[in-house]
Subunit: 255 residues, 2 copies
């Protein structure tokens, strides 16, 4: 793991294909979705209508592989990508220059890696980190506001929080609206259509006595909508293999 | 003036053509921009890249004249509209049903009428209201981030604030990010390229000894970019003749 975002991206550009969790501590990481221009309007509208699961950090001009968020090449500087055709995963390369097209618009979407730093600073432990697993994610019974080709359920992450710390978890994450912001639901998993022991993505974690399950909007939401849309072509990051920006996490905080 | 938003919209639908300042106190008002779908992507991208002057409350589906923000008809329920062809103002009707097209996408953009309520609640007087004039607006030397056909300077409003209340003005408006949020510039008009006595829109106001000029991003910004773009067709509200929503202003506040 490298602490300097520029050095981290250089390592990924040179072929290192690791999860970015723990890399470049203090710098914001982003989800990447690249779509043909003809489908980009629907994605932009989907993000506008569903800002909690889809907090946009940047939307590039068509064909551009540079970004205002870092001195980087978006085609090479992520550790691993996924290439999609008609909703099917067709390749997981570490470089997408061969797949790039001049009509691709890239969306950089806030990632909960940044948001978890705010929780830890507020004194709230992360159970999935303690247990060495991936955060549990659930497809809820709450539909997103549809936009053109894109629709689907709100996907959430869950972190157990001690009852006396739930308010602190709310205020700490409310201050990072560009990385999902305040929880969308606290307690009562059944009214969200969720069974805690059975996440749809990631792994279940222990919820101890005196703890409440707290649910935040998740960046998997737009990816699930994308996969279901049947859009003919898209490139995304591979799960956990995010784009590391030069934006300090502290710069994303409001108030 | 009517206090109920539904009654206010019914009056406008019946032909009343008044400025909405002071109507439906406590309910959010919105700027309206309707554009053909082929130009809507650039406007949506312009708003994403310039969220302070262009805080989106809603973007409709093409052709839709209903809105999630109110039980209303967007073609009839504003007191007055402007119709634009090739950047030229061609009509100022009180009803745009005859101009409506099935490809029009409507943008509802937060309006400073709501934002001023937060200032008044914080004990900060509004000089332009005291002096009975329109708030002064200035084209600054700060360019917006361009997006396709749309580019131009950031336009700001200015309100003089007593030096000991400037911090309160910041915190009060930081809590309403969907209506322009915190100031973009405080003091030093010259470094913004602004001469206080010579606003580009609206009227000059008195700045007293012990007061500091405080500048907020202004919803005229996207309208100026629209007028300069040469887009072949657009409909907007007429200045001061806003769309009154059913959204309580308090619902737009964070924290």
């Amino acid at each position: 793991m490298l602490d300097d975002p520029r050095a981290a991206r250089a390592a990924f550009r040179a072929g290192t294909a690791a999860s970015t969790s723990g890399w470049a501590d203090g710098y914001a990481q982003a989800n990447l979705v690249a779509l043909p221009r003809e489908h980009a309007y629907d994605m932009l509208l989907f993000a506008q209508r569903n800002p909690k699961p889809c907090p946009l950090l940047e939307v590039t001009d068509a064909g551009a592989w540079h970004t205002r968020t870092a001195d980087a090449d978006l085609r090479t500087d992520l550790p691993r990508y996924r290439v999609w055709r008609g909703g099917e995963l067709v390749d997981e390369p570490t470089d997408v220059r061969a797949h790039w097209r001049p009509d691709l618009v890239t969306f950089l979407i806030g990632c909960s890696f940044s948001f978890e730093a705010a929780l830890v600073e507020a004194g709230i432990g992360l159970r999935h980190v303690e247990e060495g697993v991936t955060v549990p994610m659930y497809r809820t019974n709450r539909p997103c506001a549809p936009a053109g080709a894109f629709s689907g359920p709100l996907v959430v992450t869950m972190r157990p929080v001690r009852a006396d710390l739930v308010a602190a978890a709310v205020t700490a994450t409310a201050r990072v609206p560009q990385v999902h912001g305040a929880p969308v639901h606290i307690g009562s998993p059944e009214s969200l259509g969720v069974v805690l022991e059975k996440p749809d993505y990631g792994d279940p974690v222990t919820v101890r006595d005196g703890e409440v399950p707290v649910f935040w909007a998740c960046g998997v939401t737009p990816q699930a909508a994308l996969a279901a849309s049947g859009v003919p072509f898209a490139i995304t990051h591979a799960p956990g293999h995010m784009f590391i920006t030069d934006i300090r996490e502290s710069a994303l905080r409001t108030g």
